[in-house]
């Protein structure tokens, strides 16, 4: 088999695993968009915030220690103990739920019936606010996140592909785990929305706000619920990206990468988010592989957006999105 084909196959596989990571962020977007029609720009920052909080809990940092030190001249930084991961993750989940309650209480409640564009800008404001809060709470330096997931090259994939093609593919074990966890997450979300009472209420709200209200579903509770779930999805995405490349500001830029994923998959479709993520992941790796000798590297920065732009011109509602009908 020619080498180029083998390398391209490896790039495709790597693209698939990278695509799973994009899909993880995109999932959170889709959940909130379906339930409240809000395009949540802050999803990436929520992932960053969740990861920062998790690391902070694990290492026993004192929240806002920099601020307190600057205000009162003290020298606080750590409580002096380390929280086990199994305890730190539920604690972070609690923080994300609290965040959801606060967002509903102080922002969404006041913006009911506003135009979608205003809500979108409000989430941009929320993204900035959360980013500042995260930095002040836990410090802005790059942190390593370790929750005990395996890392490094996967020996099994290497052996199998070496036996088949005489060339071992390099795949990170973390990304295989990410794919498994993403599959679990989607399964859990599907079961939740199909078979539980709250899940059905959530789908009812997604379908029609007013009809849901009139049969006695509390819109405010559903919003808190959706934002909590989105926060938990953000935590999962934050753990995955954080374990891969450290917890740092660039994590929030992944949110921007999730936008083209959404456009491909459609804003309202969970399977769409997964497939869109995979298409973007594979597309940008293959494009970089074939085109970088010709037009220079780092095409990953823009390829996804350009793909989305071209795609939009032909199918504005995405692959799986609902048909857009406009009336005057």
């Amino acid at each position: 088999m020619p080498d180029t084909l083998l390398f391209a196959m490896e790039a495709t596989l790597n693209g698939l695993t990278a695509g799973v990571m994009y899909a993880l962020v995109a999932l959170g977007f889709v959940l909130i968009f379906k339930a409240s029609g809000i395009f949540n720009f802050a999803q990436g920052v929520m992932a960053l915030f969740a990861a920062l909080t998790l690391v902070g809990f694990q290492s026993g940092q004192i929240p806002f220690s920099h601020l307190i030190n600057a205000m009162f001249g003290t020298r606080l930084h750590h409580f002096g103990w380390n929280m086990p991961t199994l305890l730190a993750i539920p604690a972070t989940v609690l923080v994300m739920i609290l965040l959801a309650v606060l967002v509903e209480r102080f922002i969404l409640k006041h913006l009911v019936n506003q135009e979608p564009i205003i809500l979108f800008m409000a989430t941009i404001g929320l993204a900035y606010f959360l980013e500042g809060v995260g930095d002040i709470m836990w410090g802005a330096e790059v942190k390593a996140l370790d929750v005990g997931l395996p890392k490094g090259m996967s020996g099994a994939v290497d052996d199998v592909t070496f036996a088949w093609f005489g060339y071992g593919f390099y795949i990170d074990r973390l990304e295989i785990w990410a794919a498994g966890i993403a599959a679990l997450l989607v399964a859990a979300l599907t079961v939740f929305s199909q078979y539980t009472k709250q899940g059905r209420a959530l789908r009812a709200v997604a379908d029609d706000h007013q009809a849901a209200l009139s049969v006695g579903i509390s819109l405010r509770f559903i919003w808190v619920l959706t934002w909590s779930i989105a926060g938990i999805v953000a935590l999962v995405a934050g753990i995955m990206w954080g374990s891969k490349s450290g917890v740092q500001f660039s994590l929030s830029l992944i949110a921007l990468k999730a936008l083209p994923v959404l456009i491909l998959g459609g804003f309202t479709s969970i399977p769409g988010a997964i497939i869109g993520g995979l298409i973007i992941g594979v597309g940008e790796k293959l494009f970089d592989f074939f085109m970088s000798p010709i037009i220079g590297g780092a095409t990953e920065n823009w390829f996804a957006y350009m793909l989305a732009l071209v795609f939009l011109l032909f199918r504005p509602q995405g692959l799986f999105g609902e048909r857009i009908i406009e009336r005057v």
Binding site: A70, I117, F120, E131, D135, A140, Y305, M306, A308
Partner: protein, 358 residues
């Protein structure tokens, strides 16, 4: 009492159609112009020019441009930073290719180049809208910045990848490069701002502006009553990009002097200008001024207070600044979705009745 419009009678349509029909406004405007052109050059110094006044003037031009696109025509754009970069790199290429060309023409031509690029990236707006369009403009942002950092032709094969502005003169006074004085920098930016603000004001109250607003309020209905969406949207993109391009060219040639696309014109610039437009007030010329003033002066004041006043570390102050800007956006969107411009309208309303409100 303090602000009155009664007794201000007009006897001709021309008088009734002027930009500032109320005497009070008109004299205030003349006073401001006089102050800006006659008094400011005498009192300005390097610190004021560099930290507040010149960036305020330059970003106001960008905010005016983005306000035309978002506030008047309703097309959300997140690519402002990249369009500023087009203006900057356009002016750089022109300055180095035609050294005799006057800097004023260089900046204006850079504006026209940006308008062309803006129309190109505005084409998708004919089919897509809202968030979808925002993503399309993100494509412009990332693609253009990538292009400027990767293609050596744009930065004249300089080994650092930076572009730096050579010295150019207007009427024998250097306005760009290291020899430019604070006064000359201030004056050239002020002249551009006055002309662009005058243009923006008159475009938005003319027939073109009405077409933009019709498209913004409901594009299908606008199309039915005879507004051509192709023309309206593309002219909005062209005019907006022209302003943003001029602002980018001024930022690079006059203010920064040297720039690198990824650093000086990244996505954070797009958001900064977007925030100016939101906080100032969507669809208001005064709002562009107010928003730019608020977001340029605010951080400077905050830094003065926290770093110089309380002795806090700089990075902490920077994080607090991000947080406060985010919170302000939220507060404005909730309490006053129409921004500082609407606050100003309320204040005028109160002043009219003062001291005898009913």
């Amino acid at each position: 009492m303090l602000y009155r419009e009664a007794g201000d009678f007009k006897t001709s349509y021309v008088a009734d159609n002027q930009t500032f029909p109320i005497k009070f406004d008109r004299y205030g405007y003349y006073f401001l112009l006089g102050f800006a052109f006659l008094v400011m050059p005498l009192i300005i110094n390097d610190y004021w020019a560099n930290s507040i006044v010149v960036p305020f003037l330059i970003y106001t031009i960008a905010a005016l441009g983005l306000n035309i696109l978002i506030g008047y025509c309703g097309q959300l754009s997140l690519g402002t930073g990249a369009f500023m970069a087009v203006g900057a790199y356009g002016s750089y290429k022109l300055m180095t290719a035609f050294p005799e060309l006057n800097i004023i023409f260089v900046i204006i031509i850079a504006g026209f180049i940006t308008a062309g690029v803006g129309v190109l990236f505005g084409l998708p707006s004919l089919r897509i809208k809202g968030f979808y369009l925002a993503v399309a403009t993100l494509a412009a942002q990332f693609f253009l910045i990538w292009l400027f950092t990767r293609t050596a032709w744009f930065y004249n094969y300089s080994p650092t990848g930076m572009i730096s502005a050579p010295t150019r003169e207007v009427f024998g006074v250097p306005v760009t490069g290291p020899r430019a004085s604070a006064v000359s920098m201030y004056m050239i930016c002020l002249c551009f701002l006055v002309v662009t603000a005058w243009l923006a004001r008159n475009l938005t109250r003319g027939s073109l502006g009405r077409q933009w607003m019709a498209i913004r309020d409901m594009d299908i209905a606008a199309e039915i009553i005879g507004v051509n969406p192709l023309m309206a949207k593309l002219t909005a993109f062209a005019v907006s990009s022209f302003f943003v391009g001029i602002s980018g060219a001024l930022l690079f040639t006059v203010y920064l002097g040297a720039a690198e696309a990824g650093e000086a014109f990244g996505i954070d610039k797009s958001f900064l200008v977007l925030f100016m437009v939101i906080i100032g007030g969507l669809g208001s010329i005064f709002g562009a001024f107010a928003g730019a003033f608020f977001l340029i002066v605010g951080p400077v004041l905050l830094k003065l207070l926290l770093v110089n006043g309380l002795g806090w570390p700089t990075d902490l102050a920077a994080h607090l600044e991000i947080m406060i800007i985010g919170a302000l956006i939220l507060v404005f969107l909730i309490a006053e979705p129409h921004g500082i411009a609407a606050l100003w309208r309320t204040i005028k309303e109160k002043l009219r009745l003062w001291p005898f409100p009913y």
